[in-house]
C-alpha cells in the first residue's frame, strides 16, 4: 500500500521535520487569521508564525542567573526532538505508514507526554516563581488529561482488535488501515463517547484556551516560557507547531482516516487537519474563557474520563456479544 521511508528521512523531511513544521506553522497562521476574522479584525498574514520564528533567531538569548543552564537550554531541545520523532509514528492514511515498531500507539502516547515534561523542566529550571506556578499547573493538567487519552486509545485498540479477531492492536497503521477498509470509527456509535473525549483532550494537550492554564499570559505571564528569549523560545514555538500536527494527525488516524491513497489521500488529510484545527481550536478559543486549574482538573477527571471509559466498556461488551 505505502512505501516505508528510512527513519531519518521520515523524521527530518517527510512527514516529520520540514513538512510537519511548515504544516504546523501554517495551521497556526490559519488559526490566528480566523480568530481575527471572528473578532471582526483583519488579522496577521498567514505566514506570521514563520516571521515570528525567524525574528526570534535574531534576538539575543538571555538566561537568568539563578537558572540551571543545562536543563534550561536542554528542555526546548528535548521537546522539539521528541515531536520530530513522534511525527514519524503518525500514519497518513494511504500515503505514509510507519514501520512495525515505530507505528506503536503506546510509544506515541509516551512521546506525546515529553513536550509537557519539557515545559515542566523549563518552568522549574528557570528559577522564576511564575515558571514554578506554570510547572505545577502543567503537571496538574498532564495528570488530568493523560488518563482519558490512554483510555481513548485503549478503546480504539480494543474495538479494532476484536473486529479483526486478533485481540487489541496498538499499531496505529493497522488501525488506520482497518478503517480505510471498513469505514471510519467516527461513524461507529460505540466510539462516539471516545470521539467526544478526544475533542476535549486535544485543546488541553495543545495548551489552548480554555485549557491554556499553564501558559496563561494574564495570570502567570506565559508560565514556563516566561524566562525564555531568542532561539530557545523559537524552539518551543517549533515544538508546539509540531505537536499540533502530531495530535491532530493522531486524531485523524484514530477516528477519520480517509479511504484514499496517493496525492488525494494527502490532500484529504491536510483538509481534515485544517478543519480539526479551525473548528476544534480556533472557534473554541475565540468563544470561550480560560478555566481555572481546579475546574479543568475536575472537569477532565469527570467527563472525558467517563466518556472514554464508556467507549472502552462498550467496545468490550458489544464485540464480545458478537454485535459488531
Amino acid at each position: 500500500m505505502t512505501s516505508q521511508l528510512p527513519i531519518l528521512v521520515a523524521a527530518l523531511v517527510f512527514p516529520g521535520g520540514v513538512f510537519a513544521l511548515a504544516l504546523g506553522l501554517a495551521l497556526k497562521g490559519a488559526d490566528r487569521r480566523l480568530a481575527a476574522r471572528l473578532q471582526g479584525r483583519v488579522g496577521p498574514p498567514l505566514a506570521q508564525p514563520f516571521f515570528d520564528i525567524v525574528k526570534l533567531g535574531f534576538k539575543r538569548t538571555m538566561a537568568p542567573d539563578v537558572a540551571c543552564a543545562p536543563v534550561f537550554f536542554g528542555a526546548p531541545l528535548i521537546g522539539a526532538a521528541s515531536m520530530l520523532l513522534a511525527m514519524t509514528l503518525v500514519p497518513i492514511a494511504g500515503v505514509y505508514a510507519p514501520g512495525p515498531i515505530g507505528g506503536d500507539l503506546l510509544v506515541l502516547i509516551y512521546l506525546l507526554a515529553v513536550p509537557g515534561v519539557a515545559l515542566m523542566l523549563a518552568g522549574s529550571s528557570s528559577g522564576s516563581p511564575y515558571g514554578a506556578i506554570g510547572f505545577s499547573r502543567e503537571m496538574a493538567m498532564m495528570l488530568a488529561y493523560e488518563g482519558p487519552i490512554v483510555l481513548i486509545v485503549a478503546a480504539v485498540a480494543l474495538r479494532v482488535g476484536l473486529a479483526t479477531g486478533e485481540g487489541p492492536t496498538f499499531s496505529l497503521s493497522a488501525i488506520a488501515a482497518y478503517q480505510q477498509e471498513h469505514g471510519a470509527l467516527l461513524f461507529d456509535p460505540v466510539m462516539w463517547p471516545a470521539v467526544v473525549a478526544f475533542v476535549f483532550f486535544y485543546p488541553a494537550n495543545l495548551g489552548i484556551v480554555p485549557f491554556d492554564i499553564p501558559e496563561a499570559e494574564t495570570e502567570v505571564l506565559e508560565g514556563p516560557l516566561l524566562e525564555y528569549s531568542g532561539r530557545p523560545l523559537a524552539l518551543f514555538k517549533v515544538m508546539s507547531a509540531l505537536k499540533a500536527v502530531v495530535v491532530l494527525g493522531l486524531g485523524v488516524a484514530l477516528f477519520i482516516p480517509l479511504p484514499f491513497t496517493g496525492a488525494l489521500g494527502l490532500i484529504g488529510w491536510l483538509v481534515e487537519l485544517l478543519a480539526l484545527a479551525l473548528i476544534g481550536v480556533t472557534a473554541v478559543r475565540v468563544g470561550a474563557g480560560r478555566m481555572r486549574i481546579d475546574q479543568a482538573f475536575v472537569f477532565f477527571l469527570k467527563w472525558p474520563l467517563a466518556l472514554a471509559l464508556a467507549s472502552l466498556l462498550a467496545a468490550a461488551y458489544f464485540s464480545a456479544g458478537g454485535a459488531s
Partner: protein, 145 residues
C-alpha cells in the same frame, strides 16, 4: 549578505509589544490595551502581539510620568528585554510629565533614564497616533536588527 538582509526583512514583520506602566493614570493603557492595539484598529496586521513577558518583547511601550517609586523596577524590567529593542513613550506624561510635571514624586521626562526612540504625545493619544508610533518604531527596529 542579501540572504541575511532578506531574513531580516522577514524578521521585522514580527514585532512583539510589551507595555511598561510607569505610574500612568491608566488612560494611555486603556488606549493601548483596548482601543488602539487590539480590536478595532488591529495592529496584529503588522504582526504585533502583546507578550506577557519582557523577555519576548521587541518594542517597549512606556506610559506614565515614571514615579520615583517605580523607577528602579521599570529600569530592571527594561534591562530584561533582549536586544535589539525599540522604546516608544506613549502619552504626554513620559515626555514632559504632563499634568504631574511640577510633582516632587516623578522622574519625567523619561529620556533621562531610558533611550526613547519614538514619542507619541497626547493625553491620551489617539489610537491612529499610537499605531503610527508603532509603525515608526518598527522601521527603527528594522535598522537595528
Amino acid at each position: 549578505m542579501t540572504f541575511v538582509t532578506r531574513l531580516k526583512d522577514v524578521a521585522a514583520r514580527s514585532p512583539w509589544l510589551y507595555r511598561i506602566n510607569a505610574g500612568s493614570c491608566n488612560g494611555c493603557d486603556v488606549e493601548l490595551a483596548t482601543t488602539a492595539l487590539i480590536p478595532r484598529y488591529d495592529v496584529e496586521r503588522l504582526g504585533c502581539v502583546y507578550c506577557g513577558s519582557p523577555r519576548h518583547a521587541d518594542i517597549v511601550l512606556i506610559t506614565g510620568p515614571l514615579t520615583r517609586h517605580v523607577l528602579a523596577a521599570a529600569q530592571r524590567v527594561f534591562a530584561e528585554i533582549p536586544d535589539p529593542k525599540v522604546t516608544v513613550a506613549v502619552g504626554v506624561c513620559p515626555i514632559t510629565g504632563g499634568i504631574f510635571r511640577e510633582s516632587y514624586a516623578i522622574c519625567a521626562p523619561i529620556d533621562q533614564y531610558f533611550p526613547v526612540d519614538v514619542n507619541v504625545p497626547g493625553c491620551p493619544p489617539r489610537p491612529p497616533a499610537i499605531i503610527e508610533g508603532v509603525a515608526k518604531a518598527i522601521a527603527i527596529w528594522r535598522q537595528r536588527l
